[in-house]
Symmetry: C2
Subunit: 131 residues, 2 copies
């Protein structure tokens, strides 16, 4: 089996620039919508408003060569391995987002709350919320 | 940026066959070890015993063409879109595992508790536990 990701959809958001993104999840993140591409629609047919889900995204603006970093909001802090941080800059820039389905919009889009990624960010998986 | 995953390490576990895998996380999962490949070691240098981490794995035995399924333990149940399930069979077979670092073993391996994946499963990311 290869290790090439299939892009299953994408995010529609008011967040257009990296500087607009909140530092922490749920920190003033605007409501966003997710679009599921036609060929994957069967896989979302049971998802409904009120569901808590885990979205996995591919943070396509990230730098995949970065292995160590400093906290973005604390430039004086010690350098840390990226696997101890939530920095998007890492070998595989996968984002994990715990969000709630707010409503089902037209064009097979789902409105979700609390999603802090850039407009156009690819989706790679959706899982049920853990509880 | 391409969408090809880098394999950052792999799992060493007593679980050798799919039939041996517990249905739910923490359900009798044995202690396992994760090995980080040499080129990614800088990225784990701050990880220490007691840390709660999120492991992302690539469930390499999965069927990536599956979009709908039935619960494994309830063959009479209705067919469900895979994005409402935790089935490994899905377009991108990424596993999310909430585990704890038990100890640091030789050969740059970390012993972890509660990891229910097959021996040899590739690792693709490590993130700090959410709280």
């Amino acid at each position: 089996m290869d290790h090439y990701l299939k892009l299953i959809g994408k995010v529609h958001s008011e967040l257009r620039r990296l500087e607009d993104c909140p530092l922490l999840e749920h920190e003033n993140a605007p409501e966003a919508a997710i679009e599921i591409f036609e060929e994957f629609r069967d896989a979302v047919k049971n998802i409904k408003p009120g569901d808590d889900i885990i979205l996995l995204t591919w943070l396509h603006k990230a730098d995949r060569t970065i292995l160590t970093t400093r906290p973005r909001n604390n430039p004086g802090a010690a350098i840390t391995g990226v696997f101890s941080t939530r920095s998007p800059d890492r070998p595989n820039p996968i984002g994990i987002h715990f969000v709630k389905i707010v409503s089902i919009a037209e064009n097979n889009r789902f409105k979700v709350s609390g999603l802090e990624v850039l407009d156009g960010t690819p989706l790679i998986d959706i899982k049920p919320g853990l509880r």
